[in-house]
Symmetry: C2
Subunit: 585 residues, 2 copies
């Protein structure tokens, strides 16, 4: 189906659903509310969640925060689907709150289903366990409303299906978390299954045609005025709002050079010959910086201008030379066009800009290549480590990097075609990558991705370590690189380089998998690499690289070594915090 037909079909489906809501139905097939919800999720391709549904598999997490992280990782890999977690009233849902807020911040579609007391109790509000002791049954929903775009409270059979459909539709079209309560007494109550025949639509509304045309014309004029001296920057929302394909077509049609931000890394295939690597303001490699900042016009697609994503707000690109494409609006220099979203406009723009394709590719793009430095020491430095693992990556790898050294270290490593990078640069909750890896590994199997490779510091891993257990139990086979630098290195750089509060306990990482292993049902392997030679040996070992079991590699690094980009970013952040000089002992 063409995009137009799809959107029309979606509109028809929406209208049919509205009709169903109003129609009185008799003699229809019945389904329990619980199964209605599960059927809707199965329609979206959610395959991992709950027992007793043949299409969906139950994943028990060790705790709720980790479950939220896993749902987040699942949604990031399984584009077009959503991540789902279920928790209990009060204790469970609040434990998950940081993970849900992270999905809100980073725009990841996660459905949070909360099992709540029965509908009579919701009204009489007895002093049940998991309550605050003062009858405020609405306190948790109020807190959740800060971090979800939609809250639906199921309370009866008449509105349940409509509320479920609304919650899921909001989640998939706006790519953000949604909160849905399910009282115990409604789970098995029966409702009509009629609505299930009409699929929920992912599609977002069309732009108003005349306005869209005017914006496309305006952009065409700007490109012409720039004489085709145009570069593209891709950012997080290209991934989150699912316009990778549209962007790819624009790039191929125009031949414009393209760069990515840290959060946009792998939005464009990093082996594409017109791709020049990462732009991150003042932290950018000089060759890239010059090319981006001197272009006459910059098309910025899906930008998310957070501190760590912009070199601490150090873009040197005036608005007069910039056009921004977002999911719900477009900005051409200073003019803002609300409700002109990129998803539907980009294909039209691509058609208009074909004229600017230049067979000789007039604008040069710096080569984005790995550079393995010559170092006269066996110590594994960040400067050497990241390009070295670059040679280990393969197409279809899912690479997950934790906030801290890993997020910065991976930036300068070109990833193979088809590889995907997951990070959480805006929200930056340490420990996220571990739960996220679980979810990503589950989703990877469904979408045909292959190895899942996690880079996490020893400090971060301690927050969420138990989530390795369900990975083992579900037979998943990620490779986990634990960068052991004896503490919170990113915090050492920001504040308190030698402070005790940035040190952590020294765990015996090599015995962790054996401790968490579920009775040894699946094999695992652990390694310690103390120096370059040992790491080289491991990475070159074919059996290791096959990733046919869960493997943990403890990489011994120095406490105060860090990727250069991190050192510079931390310096800027420390200044922003404006501690007095006395503090930086």
């Amino acid at each position: 189906m063409s995009t137009n037909t799809q959107a029309l079909q979606a509109e028809v489906d929406r209208l049919r659903l509205e009709l169903k809501t109003l129609q009185v139905e008799a003699g229809v097939e019945k389904i329990s509310i619980g199964n209605y919800l599960l059927t809707r999720l199965a329609q979206l391709g959610v395959t991992d969640l709950v027992e007793d549904n043949p299409q969906i598999d139950w994943v028990g997490n060790c705790n709720e925060l980790n479950a939220a992280y896993a749902a987040d990782g699942y949604a990031r890999i399984k584009e077009g689907s959503i991540g789902v977690l279920t928790t209990t009233f009060g204790v469970g849902e609040l434990s998950a709150m940081n993970g849900i807020a992270g999905a809100f911040s980073e725009m990841v579609p996660v459905l949070h289903i909360v099992g709540v007391p029965n509908t009579v109790q919701q009204k009489t509000r007895p002093l049940l366990h998991h309550t605050l002791g003062d009858g405020r049954y609405d306190a948790y929903g109020k807190a959740a409303s800060q971090f979800t775009i939609c809250q639906q409270y199921l309370m009866d059979t008449h509105t349940a299906a409509e509320k479920i459909d609304h919650a899921i539709t909001e989640c998939i079209t706006k790519a953000r978390p949604v909160y849905l309560t399910l009282p115990t007494d409604l789970v098995y109550r029966e409702i009509s299954s009629e609505r299930l025949k009409i699929p929920l639509s992912h599609d977002i509304p069309f732009n108003q045609p005349e306005m869209e045309q005017a914006v496309v014309d305006l952009i065409y004029d700007r490109v012409q005025a720039a004489d085709g001296d145009v570069v593209v920057i891709v950012d997080a929302c290209v991934i989150r709002h699912n316009v990778r394909k549209e962007v790819d077509e624009l790039l191929k049609a125009t031949g414009f050079p393209v760069y990515a931000t840290p959060m946009g890394k792998t939005a464009v295939d990093e082996s594409y010959f017109r791709y020049g690597g990462i732009y991150v303001g003042s932290l950018t490699h000089p060759d890239v910086k010059e090319k981006v900042e001197n272009a006459k016009l910059i098309l910025s697609i899906g930008s998310l201008g957070s501190d760590f994503n912009t070199g601490n707000f150090s873009y040197n690109i005036p608005k007069t030379r910039q056009i921004e494409f977002h999911s719900t609006y477009t900005e051409v220099n200073f003019a803002r066009f609300d409700n002109i979203g990129m998803k539907h406009m980009l294909p039209k723009l691509t058609e208009r800009l074909r004229d600017f394709y230049h067979p000789g590719h007039r604008l040069p793009v710096p080569a984005f290549i790995k550079q393995l430095p010559e170092e006269n020491t066996p110590v594994i430095s960040h400067l050497w480590f990241w390009p070295r693992v670059g040679y280990f990556f393969k197409p279809k790898d899912v690479i997950v990097t934790e906030t801290g050294t890993a997020n910065f270290g991976i930036l300068d490593v070109p990833l193979p075609s088809g590889a995907v990078l997951l990070n959480q640069i805006l929200w930056g909750s340490i420990g996220w990558s571990v739960g996220s890896t679980l979810g990503a590994a589950l989703a990877a199997k469904d979408v045909g991705m292959e190895r899942v490779i996690l880079f996490v510091g020893d400090g971060s891993l301690q927050l969420t370590v138990q989530e390795i257990s369900p990975m083992i139990r579900k037979g998943l086979k990620p490779i986990i690189f634990v960068l052991n630098n004896k503490g919170y290195s990113i915090e050492r750089y920001i504040h308190g380089k030698h402070r005790r509060y940035n040190d952590i306990a020294d765990w015996k990482w090599s015995s962790l998998l054996d401790t968490l292993n579920d009775g040894g049902k699946y094999p695992t392997a652990s390694y310690i690499v103390n120096n370059k030679e040992e790491l080289n040996g491991l990475l070159d070992n074919e059996a290791f690289a096959t990733a046919d079991k869960l493997q943990l590699v403890e990489v011994m690094m120095e406490a105060l070594d860090a990727p250069q980009a991190l050192e510079r970013q931390a310096e800027l952040t420390g200044k922003g915090n404006a501690y007095a000089a006395a503090a930086t002992a």
Copy 2:
């Protein structure tokens, strides 16, 4: 000082502080805002928190939820002090939210200090990491306001001291969590240290004297009408609102029989000869039930009528025979007297009720004793396990029980004089006991308690397992009994007895301490006990009982064994949830 003089002194101190707020000060000694806060905490006897203050020791937790649990456990043991945790903006504070809400629900004084962006950023709201991406810097405080009784946002040097004092005073007098933000740029800014000379007062306001007298008279009349046929029930708020001493004096002066609820266990010395054990509605032992429910008058002190604390609301005590004492009000049958709190009234009541002391103790009290059943099987059953560990306990033990089998199993075990029990029966967040044990063990050293003994199920321990690491690192020596029944037994009883979602991964618990040990600086020991004989051998081993190092005991139990009280409670809860019959496969 007598209670009266103390209260007057507190009032004087309060007035002096108010004056300080209004006075313009010149030439006074200066202190940084950060140190002002730390000094206030040190004055309250908080000894564990932050580096660089000679009176306070830094405890790094593995994650923020565990830190909140630890602060909760610390406050429960160190009565009159508070628990303190510090987290970072957004990611950290939200991770702690379930722990804070638990302290709210269970009335535990916890101060949550959140490090937030600098005061300029609070106003300009840039797109920093740890933000929601939409400039809503107030979202976290709004969520926190659902679960804390007071929120103070430090924004300048003029009001910082007053806000800090207000936050801490609310925390200590109302015994509930408080939220305090500290922007990075204010930490080292200097303010006057004058206010620090005036201590913050724990004392709560006097009751209005005439009204109080009238209530005491009314209660006297009721006791007289009951002809001294009176029993006392002590509950959670006797502990939380610090009236153990006042209750003890009332009991000694009157000789009235006394019983405790599950949450009130150890509020009264369990070896006291007029103490008859636990009253928990329909789940009560028949001898106790008859004695309590047939008394002509019941004095219910500090009650907290939650489902699990009342045998699912099955008290058989009409209001006409009941007087309730609370921290801020009193209820005599149907009459409610607001602002007549128990702290100041109980001593007056004690004096008035001395007349009813009966040297021969007319009302008999059932003996509360351990009963070790004869069982013809080596299997460790709950029925046998709990009385058996009863013989292991000593005075000055701190006993922590996790939600689930342990909370119910401990109820029928009389604890030695001076022993203290910690549980979280109202909030019921599984995993709480592990963080709480860390905090309790730190506090125990300060207050002269000795061994700390945790009972936790394997399912619960998986949620928060990493917090054993700081226990080891700080040289703490709790004994951790891991009740291994391969999953969430309490949930099996409530719903889904044979469902896969109540199973968990089988960890090698005996290698856990070795994995988490901080380079082996402190010794630890792990044991597996498979049967009664092995458990007897271990408990009778003097070296083990000395608790001179951190020890973990894995107790092998059957998946579907549980204390009887739990089985009955779970049945009632399951009915309340009102699942359809089809569900209980």
